[in-house]
């Protein structure tokens, strides 16, 4: 085990990205993720990389498109309203099958909203974020160590499957400090990118990176091919953690900070004699359906704990095929459920109420 250092979640993302070989960062400041840009501004010039504060979020995502077209690891980061601005670019990246890493350290919405933690961009992230048929791989860290690990994983999956990965964190994850073992991070070699626009050397036909296809037959073909890749991702890349689920009668579903709060509540519920457990999706897309389908065979009820008005709950219902009642335990607008609130929901569900 390597030496552990205390780092903010935002800094851990930035450092992990550099270790994963990312040498190009484009962004625009917004609370609560500005430490990512600040870290990159300090480090990139020293290692021959590029840090550029773009004139807007829209400019930043299009710079990402450019660098990715050249076959290099590249990222941008923002928080909720800024990610909405990037929506067009996310769709273009998908249409051109370009890998990239996008970080959303969520804050309360809608609109300019507030600056406190939120998970209310779940729909936006897991359903693509922009127009058209597409998905991003969405990774939801629940510790600073995972902020680092999933950043590396995000780059690797993006390159492997030629699509955008998103880290969907929140203000708490970005701002908190925890011990991180950075030297434990392993980075797989970057795959060949024969499609990159790096010059033909007069030895091959031109590579073209493009998302405009005016012939519907052609455009349809690319959509179907892309969804074949998505099917492989759904089959192979769903990740989750189960906590005290073996004999659980009440199943809590929560990701990120909500999962941390839920663990406290689950431990307390068990002290009070109620067998509760947690399924924590680590990938939000692909959503880990299997553990919920399994749990639906032996639990009495499920509770989706979210910092939103109830978004992941739809995937929990779909994955459990509505075999058991699923209720919502939530706060919104930048507020965080307390362990007591989650405990009350667990005890209520155990009694059969909803």
């Amino acid at each position: 085990m390597s030496e552990k250092v205390l780092m903010k979640g935002n800094e851990a993302i930035a450092e992990a990205a550099i270790r994963a070989g990312c040498r190009h960062y484009f962004g625009y400041p917004i609370t609560p993720q500005t430490e990512i840009a600040a870290y990159m501004a300090k480090k990139m010039p020293k290692i021959g990389g590029t840090f550029l504060q773009a004139e807007s979020e829209i400019a930043a995502i299009n710079m990402v498109y450019g660098v990715s077209s050249a076959g290099l690891r590249v990222m941008t980061s923002s928080s909720s309203p800024g990610v909405s601005l990037k929506g067009e670019g996310l769709s273009y990246l998908a249409g051109a099958d370009l890998p990239a890493l996008i970080v959303n350290v969520q804050r309360g919405g809608p609109g300019l909203g507030g600056i406190q933690p939120s998970q209310s961009d779940y729909f936006q992230a897991t359903r693509g974020g922009g127009h058209g048929d597409y998905h991003m791989i969405v990774l939801a860290p629940a510790s600073v160590q995972e902020m680092a690990e999933l950043t590396v994983k995000g780059f690797e999956l993006a390159d492997q499957y030629r699509l955008t990965s998103m880290i969907l964190a929140d203000g708490t994850m970005g701002q908190m400090m925890e011990p991180v073992a950075l030297d434990d991070l392993t980075v797989a070699p970057m795959p060949e990118k024969p499609w990159a626009t790096t010059g033909t050397g007069m030895k091959r036909p031109h590579n073209i990176v493009n998302s405009l296809f005016l012939q519907p037959e052609e455009l349809e073909k690319f959509n179907f091919e892309r969804y074949e890749r998505y099917a492989k991702i759904e089959a192979n890349e769903a990740r989750f953690e189960e906590y005290r689920m073996d004999d659980a009668e009440i199943c809590v579903a929560a990701f990120g900070i909500a999962a941390r709060v839920s663990k406290n509540a689950i431990d307390e519920a068990r002290k009070q004699g109620v067998k509760a457990g947690l399924i924590r999706p680590i990938t939000l897309w692909p959503f880990p359906k299997a553990p919920f389908r399994r749990a639906a065979e032996h639990v009495k009820a499920m509770i989706s704990v979210e910092l939103s008005m109830g978004q992941m709950i739809e995937d929990v219902r779909l994955a459990s095929e509505c075999r058991v009642p699923v209720s919502l335990c939530n706060r919104a607008g930048g507020m965080i459920p307390s362990p007591d609130q989650v405990l009350e929901a667990i005890l209520g569900a155990a009694k059969g109420g909803n």
Partner: protein, 177 residues
């Protein structure tokens, strides 16, 4: 499993976040699980800073401290806001230079240290935070831990290495109160 939840609160500039970071590093060095979470919201922009620190023998669940075992109040608004949240049997440490009243709680242990006055009388006016922290470590029986000096080395950058001794003196002064 022993878990101690600390809540530090005061004005921006009093070194609330620094004191919390020191404590988190001390725990890390001594092999504990730790978390540190600052307030970064609108209340901070209004001049009040707080931070949650958890030091535990096991995994840390929620990093948000809503029921502190130890409350450190460095100004009156902090005591007003958080004293009712301290767990029964918990501890309150207050800077009595800036807080004139006593806590209304009779089910907690309260310690009143004139940290701001001690700091300025002894020539390090910016270290009231470390004086309070020294008192806390002494009361928790953790001052002698190997982590104190090692943690100072972690939170004080090499550029300001000369501040290490001064901070250690402030911690010792607090511990002697």
């Amino acid at each position: 499993m022993k878990t101690t939840q600390f809540l530090f609160s005061g004005f921006g500039g009093q070194g609330i976040l620094f004191a919390g970071k020191f404590l988190a590093y001390k725990g890390l060095i001594e092999g504990k699980q730790v978390s540190w979470l600052p307030s970064y919201g609108p209340e901070m922009r209004g001049g009040t800073a707080s931070c949650s620190v958890i030091v535990s023998d096991g995994a840390v669940g929620s990093p948000i401290v809503s029921k502190p075992d130890v409350l450190v109040a460095m100004n009156l608004p902090s005591l007003d806001r958080f004293e009712s949240s301290v767990v029964p049997g918990g501890m309150i440490f207050a800077d009595s230079t800036l807080i004139e009243r006593r806590t209304a709680r009779d089910d907690v242990k309260a310690f009143y240290v004139p940290a701001t006055k001690l700091a300025s009388d002894n020539g390090y006016p910016t270290l009231a935070n470390m004086i309070l922290l020294g008192k806390i470590l002494a009361e928790l029986g953790e001052f002698s831990g190997e982590g104190v000096e090692a943690a100072l080395a972690k939170v004080i950058s090499a550029k300001h290495a000369d501040m290490k001794e001064v901070n250690l003196n402030a911690l010792r002064l607090g511990a002697a109160q």
